[in-house]
Subunit: 409 residues, 2 copies
């Protein structure tokens, strides 16, 4: 059960003009559910992506980067669950390209206008024939109302489908933002694959969309998947079909961008937090803010050291205010000249450590009360600069071990 | 149960001339066992230490460093379990100094000749009165045969006492090396405290002992506790009582040092591996060797990325050859210019990944067979240089979560 997250109903995922989605079952694993998703975009659609920093990035990530560099427009996305097509070498690259050629034939576009995505087990050959066989069935199922079926088809260890929509109005025209995401392993440096697709019918120009994708990722998915600590397949794609009857939005200072951007950010933040809330075995949602750093990079190091410490995470699971574990994690963040005597931190509004030592006002029962909550805020003040950042994480439970010890069986 | 580790019997821990040990119960936690250890060293003894790199190092670590810098000789060590005296600020420092003064009075030496150590819960005030009250009882119990009782008194989540001895002969004189260690949380960056004390009666001079301590730590405890990823209290102390009737060993090229050094290294390696074998919840012992790096630092980053990945560790627990998780961890080690196409790795003798992809010869049943073993070797070849390193780690089980979720209760 995710922490304080109610999955969307099918009706809550609003259609986005210019975008249809269709799913089918290719039997990639020993399951009978749909596991292949085709997303078709109307001519003139733009897409932009932010991808994993892992050096062993998966074949589809390599192909996505190539295709986005080669083609101004994107006409389709193909996503499969059950096999990550990662660690598969040249054969994996060829397989990813083959699926793009097949999609291009199916919907009559160029192969470079197709973006492939895979999620699932690493280092097993992609069953490319079964995926290609499923394409006509995906195409037959294409529908603007396919978002809910779509997110269900790309789930792996997710316990619930994750999606969100916003509808705004620009110059009297309704504009929609809908996003879906999968991923449930944001516990630690090597998480399960995160895939997120956020689309709008607002006519955002290609160059502007690229800037937006990077900026929105920094506010949302990068707060979960800190740079360099990502799976082989992580991808966040922003799509603008341009099908809303509006003049193109080409400039960053176009006032019509303001509400669109706000809606895109809201959906992206909701999805990225949903991934943490549905973290493998998660029972707590923890927001870690580090302030007073010299730069954002050192704030992130401290926040990540706390977020990734198994000792801190098991203490959250146990609702145990074993706060020394947070102190220890801060000390291990690798900031060589950090002065512990200037560090303070809070659990929600409770001051726990002041100037490097236990705060005089701190009472164990106050810490206990905060630790027992399903949502906990940790705020650390380094008192050496003006930078600040926030990351989101979850606790570490028996459920995590069970899920990851049994994942392939 | 530790993995392939049989704890020593009391008789196997040989007395070291010039050293006596005594324990007593101070009731630091809600237990009745002995939890304070006094180690008394004969006049002229030297000690040297390697301590945590954590910026929030504990008060006793600060005092140890001061005392080792201030005094040529060391006459006593005082160790308590149940409270780490870390994150305790100036009050903690004063408490650690008070205990040294009390030991100095008890055994008639200078306070700077006393080294204090603590292990247990962080950020709670040290019950200094109870520890000082226990000192006369420790002193009354001092005995050369006290090593086994000593290691039992400093255990926390350890399931077995860890100790080892070697006896060698130099110029017809018997020389002894005996070491004890505690620590059982080497699972991840923020492990439980490791304390290790290795002593000999060989008359090794102070300067030489300092070099030896650093060199031996690099071959043993630093292979578990990689620099910068240590608890607030981690300490490794090398002691030379000099009580064996031999001329002083003052030079690195003294041939009499060769067998002493070999015995010290053997004991240190046995103890550091024992800590991993008794890792919290451990069911597997895993040695990770990374070779062909440009320098040792990048080999360590890759080895640590594998050793610390919860996904890799749960796969080992499940005996699941989910080898993509190792590939993913290598990719996340932060080596920006790593060419995945040159990376190969082996599980024991089984070639799994060759040139970045699944080896043609690899069969799942071979991987399965290795993963089912209690001791597993992972060897990674980066093929970009001549550096190599090895780290030791263990798997990640339900037991780890239970131990750390319940630790304080």
């Amino acid at each position: 059960m995710p922490v304080n997250y109610t999955p969307p109903t099918p009706e809550q995922l609003l259609p986005v003009r210019g975008i249809t989605l269709g799913t089918a079952a290719a039997g990639i694993k020993r399951w009978t559910r749909d596991d292949v998703l085709l997303v078709k975009l109307s001519p003139g659609s733009h897409a932009s992506g932010v991808f994993t920093q892992n050096r062993f990035c998966a074949a589809p990530v390599i192909v996505c980067r190539e295709h986005l560099a080669q083609s101004r427009h994107t006409r389709a996305l193909l996503i499969n669950a059950g096999n990550a097509n990662a660690g598969t070498g040249d054969a994996g690259l060829a397989a990813a390209r083959l699926t793009c050629v097949a999609v291009a034939k199916q919907i009559d576009c160029a192969p470079e206008e197709v973006l492939p995505f895979s999620t699932g087990v690493i280092m097993e050959p992609l069953p490319v024939d079964r995926i290609i066989d499923a394409l006509p069935r995906c195409a037959a199922a294409l529908t603007p109302g396919g978002w809910y079926a779509a997110v269900r088809a790309i789930m792996t260890t997710d316990t619930v489908p994750k999606g969100a929509s916003r509808r705004i109005e620009i110059e009297g025209t309704a504009v929609t933002v809908t996003g879906i995401a999968k991923g449930a392993g944001m516990m630690a440096p090597n998480m399960a694959t995160m895939l997120a697709f956020v689309a709008t019918d607002a006519p955002i120009a290609g160059g502007l969309l690229r800037d937006l994708a990077a900026a929105i990722a920094d506010l949302s998915f990068n707060r979960v998947t800190i740079d360099g600590d990502t799976s082989t397949n992580d991808s966040f794609v922003l799509i603008a079909s341009g099908a809303a009857p509006l003049r193109p939005i080409e400039r960053r200072d176009d006032p019509r961008l303001v509400p669109v951007r706000a809606a895109l950010e809201e959906v992206a933040i909701e999805l990225s937090q949903a991934i943490v809330r549905d973290g493998e075995g998660a029972t707590k949602f923890i927001a870690i803010t580090v302030e007073g750093g010299r730069d954002i990079s050192e704030c992130e190091r401290v926040a990540r050291a706390i977020a990734h410490s198994p000792l801190v995470k098991t203490a959250f699971f146990a609702s145990d205010p074993n706060l020394g574990r947070i102190v220890c994690a801060i000390g291990n963040a690798g900031i060589a000249d950090l002065d512990p005597g200037r560090v303070s931190f809070w659990l929600d509004e409770i001051l726990v450590v002041e100037d490097g030592g236990r705060a005089a006002s701190y009472r164990e029962e106050d810490g206990q009360r905060v630790m027992a909550k399903p949502e906990i805020g940790v705020r650390v003040a380094l008192n050496r600069g003006n930078a600040t950042t926030t990351v989101w994480t979850c606790d570490f439970s028996h459920g995590y071990v069970s899920i990851n010890a049994d994942y392939r069986s």
